[in-house]
């Protein structure tokens, strides 16, 4: 069930059947009336130095998946295996406790969407970026200072600005501070949760280029969570598409964006307005709304809105299957989806 990289090297991160359910209570003390299936049996891998893109619309569980993976949220079920060294045994992040978990976190970092809300306004940049060093008691005072200066240079900030407060920086610079904070402990894996969604186009391109060059230099692996398909395709090696808590398609970025194997991915791709006035496309609009994620009925979650829906789709949840090597789809009619015309490049 777990998708493997093409190469035989063991992956850095291996997520197995990860679930996160949130109880819905009636009243303050009431027993749960149901569960929101935010992340429902999600499995994927992230290789060393690889970028995996996680796309989907709001409420599909992509952010929850990222946070549960890092144990910022406690998973309801499933495992996340992390292999710090290629020849070492994997560690189960979901089972780690106390000091072990704390040590693991040095390797696993996150960059948040909101560059304003995720930086403490009462701390200077130096304090924000250096907090990780202090928390893990790394280096002497001057060594820490040197490291902070190095990391700030690395993300393209002026080190002399480290005594300033977040409000003195622009949106793009604040996102650089957030990246510096994630880099300070020299991690192997960073979850980027919509890191460029709040930024303007020209600044967005700067941050994407920065993330790409950092990856090349430091051999980082990213889980890149975003809703902008063009951005995700650009930065990712592989893409996973989520719908209502489940991965519906996963494969090499270009393949997923060109020849999608799931009707939902196809709709998403065809809904993106094309920045070329010569190619007017009337976007195929979906009928119906997104069903509730509270105790969803059996069957494919996309069935109610799917143009290819069969009777059996409402009865059993279609499993992810490997339609082409490395390209997985959770649609019983994946082969037919493929025969529809390819999504043209802009």
């Amino acid at each position: 069930m777990v998708m493997q990289l093409k190469q035989d090297k063991p992956p850095l991160i291996k997520v197995e059947n990860l679930c996160k359910f949130f109880p819905v209570r009636r009243g303050f003390f009431g027993a749960p009336a149901g569960y929101v299936h935010a992340v429902d049996c999600v499995s994927f891998t992230v290789g060393r130095g690889e970028t995996v893109g996680l796309v989907g619309e709001s409420g599909c569980g992509k952010t929850t998946a990222g946070r549960t993976l890092l144990r910022l949220l406690e998973p309801t079920a499933g495992r996340v295996l992390f292999r710090p060294k290629e020849d070492a045994d994997p560690v189960d992040i979901t089972a780690a406790q106390g000091e072990e978990l704390r040590r693991l976190r040095r390797n696993l970092q996150i960059v948040f969407q909101d560059p304003i809300g995720s930086l403490n306004p009462r701390m200077t940049v130096r304090e924000i970026v250096g907090e990780g060093l202090a928390a893990h008691s790394i280096g002497s005072r001057s060594e820490r200072e040197d490291r902070i200066v190095d990391v700030l240079k690395l993300v393209g900030l002026v080190p002399e600005h480290r005594f300033r407060y977040p409000h003195e920086f622009s949106g793009g610079q604040r996102q650089r501070i957030g990246i510096a904070r994630a880099l300070i402990l020299d991690p192997q894996f960073i979850v980027c949760d919509e890191p460029v969604s709040a930024l303007d186009v020209s600044i967005q391109a700067q941050i994407i280029s920065l993330l790409e060059s950092l990856q090349e230099e430091l051999g980082l692996a990213y889980l890149f969570i975003a809703h902008d398909l063009a951005v995700v395709e650009h930065i990712s090696n592989r893409i996973a598409v989520m719908y209502l808590g489940k991965i519906v398609e996963m494969g090499p970025a270009e393949e997923v964006c060109r020849v999608p194997l799931h009707p939902y991915s196809r709709t998403l791709l065809e809904s993106v307005p094309v920045p070329d006035p010569r190619r007017k496309v009337k976007a195929a609009s979906l009928t119906g709304g997104v069903p509730t994620p509270i105790d969803p009925p059996p069957g494919c979650r996309f069935a109610g809105r799917c143009p290819l829906c069969l009777e059996e789709c409402g009865q059993m949840t279609p499993p992810l299957r490997e339609v082409h090597p490395g390209h997985w789809s959770a649609c019983v009619r994946a082969e037919e989806t493929e025969k529809v015309r390819a999504i043209p490049a802009y």
Binding site: S170, A205, A230, S271, V274, A283, A345, Y346
Partner: protein
């Protein structure tokens, strides 16, 4: 005398297509008088919107596109103030109107929809109440007639079962439905100009596609003009006839959508396109524009884009470029721009 001459000039300029513009904005200046200085959010902006067309206004945050829209409806609040220029809507000069007269223009002649439907709708009134309120303010109709009109409008924006939905409150509707209700409200008095300020930015792509299709259909049906403000170049390419690109309170380029996308002449416009990741072109490297948007309190001398521009020459630092006509309906505010695009070679 001089004012007569000026008017004559304006009319000539405006009649370039042989049609009188519905909206003509001339040298609009909206400044914000803050404690730390004067922010020239909109600084000498001129443009027209012709009947039945969609004008796309593109630019990054802080470029003055939203303030321009708010200025047209005279909704700028202190410390902001319109300090100069004229706004002519359907032959009526808006900057000189009293607030009471302006209220008759808003909603009836020009209406606006905002980015976040959840914060633009009042949570304690049903959507039906909010739409009928607008109708009864501008039209002499009874409560039941207004309600019928509201139901008709909700039907037009493709809200299923409008007669039932009319009694619902904003929190009972999804984001896309709320934006539809906003559009229904804005169109309930059949304005000739609809200003849509980032109408789909808060929505998912599939819902965005629905709303954009709807806006185009309604524009055709009702024959209105749309001024669409967005930062999304894809949306502009798909639905605008002409595009105006703004940067730091100035118009830097205006042209037909075709020219802006296939023959952009301003270095900023070109920079925007090179910054944009495109689907299906994974191998293409992004070329971000270096630097950041200037502080509005401390704009650079000369051209405002000059500190970030790769083609900047001496003159750009000394003298502010005016909009020059470099092709049919194509004007560019750049000293180095040439009509054949040779300056990029």
């Amino acid at each position: 005398m001089s004012s007569e001459q000026a008017t004559a000039e304006k009319t000539v300029e405006a009649q370039q297509d042989g049609i009188r513009p519905l909206l003509a904005v001339r040298d609009l200046r909206t400044h914000f008088f803050t404690e730390r200085g004067v922010a020239r959010a909109v600084d000498g902006v001129s443009f027209e919107v012709f009947p039945g067309e969609t004008l796309g206004v593109v630019g990054e945050s802080g470029c003055g596109k939203s303030v321009t829209a708010l200025s047209i409806l005279r909704l700028v609040t202190p410390p902001g103030r319109i300090t100069g220029g004229t706004i002519t809507l359907d032959g009526q000069e808006l900057t000189a109107l009293l607030e009471s007269e302006m209220r008759r223009v808003r909603g009836r002649k020009a209406a606006m929809i905002f980015q976040e439907p959840q914060s633009s709708l009042n949570p304690v009134f049903s959507i039906g109440f909010q739409i009928t309120e607008a109708i009864r303010l501008h039209q002499k109709v009874t409560r039941t007639e207004a309600e019928e009109l509201a139901i008709e409008m909700l039907g037009r924006v493709a809200i299923p079962d409008p007669a039932k939905r009319i009694g619902e409150y904003p929190h009972q509707l999804s984001g896309g439905m709320k934006q539809r209700a906003m559009i229904a409200m804005a169109l309930s008095c059949r304005p000739s100009l609809l200003i849509a300020d980032e109408p789909t930015t808060a929505l998912d792509v599939t819902i965005q596609a629905q709303i954009l299709n709807l806006l185009q259909e309604l524009r055709e049906q009702l024959g209105m003009s749309v001024m669409l403000i967005t930062h999304n170049l894809g949306i502009v390419a798909q639905i605008a006839r002409r595009v105006m690109v703004m940067y730091a309170g100035k118009v830097v380029e205006t042209a037909s959508t075709e020219s802006v996308f296939h023959k952009p002449l301003h270095p900023y416009t070109v920079g925007l396109f090179r910054s944009l990741p495109k689907l299906g072109r994974k191998s293409q490297k992004l070329a971000p524009i270096p630097g950041e948007v200037p502080n509005p309190l401390d704009a650079p001398p000369g051209c405002r884009f000059q500190p970030r521009c790769g083609l900047c020459v001496e003159r750009c630092r000394a003298e502010e470029p005016k909009l020059r006509i470099l092709g049919e309906g194509h004007s560019v505010a750049c000293h180095v721009a040439q009509s054949d695009g040779a300056h990029f070679a």
